[in-house]
Amino acid sequence: MHRVLSKEELSESVKLFDIEAPLIAKKFKAGQFLIIKIDEKGERIPLTIVDADKENGTVKIIFQEVGKSTKQLGLLKVGETIENVIGPLGKPAEIKKFGKVVCVGGGVGIACLYPQAKAFKEAGNEVISIIGARTKELIILEEEMRNVSDRLYITTDDGSYVRKGFVSDVLKELLEKEKIDRVVTIGPAIMMMVTARVTKPYNIKTIASLNSIMVDGTGMCGACRVSVGGETKFACVDGPDFDAHLVDFKLLMERQKIYLDEERKATELFEGECE
């Protein structure tokens, strides 16, 4: 049992929890994730670890309420518990001094980008971050990102905050003007795909963190399989970080849709019960 120690609403559908997980906090490295299962009947869902507090034995998670499980999670109150928290899973991100690193994040993916940006900064890199979302209220962790970045750019699709447009617009301009040594991109698959396309002509190593559907998260089931350079890999144990120039993003997007019907059904039922 893992207690929820604090809870914050970052936007209407995005929440931040501090949860009790002392061993995971001790071992967490940027790029890793955890799996939670809320209760006996719950499903196992992978979530980003945003930060870890080794001394207090807590980890921060951020999630967007999209289906039944995440909505149920969002209803938990401070002091209530999550039955299972498993982690840290996945390979840690490759963090070292590359020089100038651009961190590109979109939507709730910014949560996953933050620990990497922070680690790159701590490793002595010049960190330029570009974060974007559909609209102003979905821009999360702005202050945190600013604190670990030498420069921070913000875009919104609808122009409701800072610059109207996409993160890739800013990235294109940067690439034309500056020598970039590495790009990390985390967000919706389509955004990561576009990022990879933008950096490809410049031959800059670009890493994407893939958010595929998972069950066990330990390499046992293959639900999370992705195609990288024509080879099948498991995002849970071989990733979640992969060379974005080699990832088949179309496949990732197709596979993310497998359970849309079931998700809709479960969400409707759940919302019916809640009313």
Partner: protein, 459 residues
Amino acid sequence: MTLIKEKTKIKEQDPKKRIKNFNEVALGYSLEDALKEASRCLQCKDSPCIKGCPVNIEISAFIKFIKEGKFDEAIKKIKEKNNLPAICGRVCPQENQCEKFCVMRKKFEPVGIGRLERFAADWEIKNGIKHPKKTKPIGKKVAVVGSGPAGLTCAGDLAKLGYEVTIFESLHKPGGVLVYGIPEYRLPKKIVEIEIDYIKKLGAEVKTDFVIGKILSIEELLEEYDAVFIGTGAGLPRFLNIPGENLNGVYSANEFLTRVNLMKAYLFPEYDTPVKKGKRVAVIGGGNTAMDSARTALRVGADKVYIVYRRSEKEMPARNEEIEHAKEEGIEFMFLTNPTEIIGDENSWVKGMKCIKMKLGEPDESGRRRPIPIPGSEFPLDVDMVIIGCGQSPNPLVPEATKGLKTAKWGNIIVDENGRTSLKKVWAGGDIASGGATVIAAMGEGKIAAADIHKFLSE
């Protein structure tokens, strides 16, 4: 006394009914059945059956107790060697083990040893399990990684000897393949729970949600424990490397079974984990996992299920009983057939599978005749879901995270005949060492390792 030539039949659920539920197929012996079957045992002095049992149960002794109606003595006898009798009585391939050596088998059918084991175990569950007193602690600690058959056996034996044992399980429920792999209709999860509870009562502690290799390393475990046993199983699904394998609607058998068994997706939306319900399902493979997947697909709601296997029926590694049960349930076997491509529709969902006919050539390294494709024999199979059950490889998580732990070509941990690995104070057993065998084989290896750990720590 007249000799009864045939094994007493075990009552089973009617195939037409059982394909619509997840209740157990084999219903077990009644008291009369058990007494009758026990009376068939010749009580051979040298008990050749024992040499077929990986955990050395004194078979004729426990059967004698059943014959005398002393069921509590019978189960006590079994539990001297086997802590998981209700599980073994259900899933052991007795035909290749104890029953293979039964003297009765020379002329008639062997004694139904497995069924009698199950009877004794179920009798005790029904009448209240007697938990032995915890052994006085001897002040030494052992960590067991993985709570499948190998780990549970090793842990149980060491706990009985007075070791303080902690079992680390990566999933949220203990049992390994017994809970994620083997379906409810073959091994009810309640039974697994009861027998794991017995191991706990012996003194072993179970910590779930512990992914060793990630949250703690073997090295770190050795700072606290005097020895470590690794029994992390063959968890890595193999794929075929054919086009279309990543289409929506293609599952590894592991994923399909894990969703249904461990996560109870057949009860969706009461349980949150979904599973796709194919109408026409092809299961690739010929082992028990393939049979389990096929019969599970039927129960989840498929109209038609095919087993597609590249060799002939004779070479199938699945237990005869499983093959028979699958046939009774209406599963269609396509032997000497291999898939070459899975076809998707415009939205990347499976809409068919291309197959090719095979013939058998010369024996390969496994001793089985090698299947060879027959040119020009391609044909389409109309399916909307494909489950790939062509075996599992050892789970690489622990070996990859453990410096100095030697592994062989396929990633299995190299051990000697006592389960010792290349690292001091580290043992391994079950599928992670031997790579894809049976529950009971894994248990045998857990037992051998436990004895060797005890020997090592007593020196």
